[in-house]
């Protein structure tokens, strides 16, 4: 599976209700250690309510400059959340379906 298949797809819950779009995929470097860098294990997906175009990442980092660009983009992506791999039922070419009773987490990255 390649990333551009997934980025921008709709995210739906167990009942088919739309939750937003995949704006990013999160990895953690905590898999088997390699010669250079550890393996990058998928942690989950970041779901954005309005749009997937969050390449600027303002909603996830603590940046506040330049005003008002940062604030505008933050506002546009309010309500973004992280869904862990364990809560994903299906990743398809059209949409990503979540399991029943999934948990939504904050999508902020620690700086």
């Amino acid at each position: 599976m390649i990333l551009s298949d997934v980025l921008g797809s709709d995210v739906v819950d167990h009942h088919g209700q739309r939750l937003g779009e995949v704006s990013d995929v999160r990895f953690a470097l905590d898999a088997a250690p390699g010669q250079l860098l550890s393996g990058a294990r998928m942690v989950g997906i970041v779901v954005s309510p309005r749009t997937a175009s969050s390449f600027l990442g303002y909603e996830r980092l603590g940046l506040t400059q330049p005003w008002p660009v940062a604030q505008l983009l933050r506002w546009r992506h309010r309500g973004s959340f992280l869904v862990l791999w364990e809560d994903i039922e299906r990743m398809g070419s059209q949409e990503v379906a979540l399991r029943a009773g999934f948990t939504a987490y904050e999508s902020t990255l620690e700086s």
């Binding site: 990333l3 860098l37 299906r90």
Partner: protein
């Protein structure tokens, strides 16, 4: 085609801590420059290949999380922008195991000449530049 109305999850919990460094693909990997071990640019990261899951198949309950197998470059940029995807055999891969660091650039632990990704560069070097006098001279 207007999007279906969306619902917002009722509660959002604080994120769980991760064991190692955390990377968001779009934020930290995609469209970044890759430099080889000598600092020579190789290409940009145009896409990322994962080890799974199978598309459209139901994921079993305790299936292990997929990991990044390779960074992709080349024609996959065209399909990323315009849609579709190239067949797997045509993808130009930089295996994750040669990645040494992720920062404002992605550093690789190998030299660019050893990678598929720079074959156009080598071809032009051998067939065009080398034929013009002065091409191999230091500036």
């Amino acid at each position: 085609m207007s999007k279906a109305k969306r619902i917002q999850p009722s509660e959002i919990r604080p994120a769980p801590r991760a064991a190692g460094k955390v990377l968001d693909a779009q934020l930290h990997l995609l469209d970044r420059q890759m430099l080889d071990v000598d600092g020579v640019p190789v290409s940009t990261v145009d896409d990322v290949e994962l080890s799974g899951p199978e598309p459209d198949e139901r994921i079993p309950e305790s299936a292990p999380a997929p990991h990044i197998t390779a960074l992709l470059t080349g024609p996959v940029l065209g399909t990323r922008i315009f849609g579709g995807r190239p067949p797997s055999s045509r993808l130009i891969r930089i295996p994750w195991r040669v990645v040494a660091g992720v920062d404002t650039v992605i550093t690789l632990g190998v030299r660019s000449d050893s990678l598929d990704a720079s074959w156009v560069e080598r071809w032009l070097r051998n067939h065009v530049i080398a034929r013009i006098p002065g091409g191999r001279h230091d500036p």
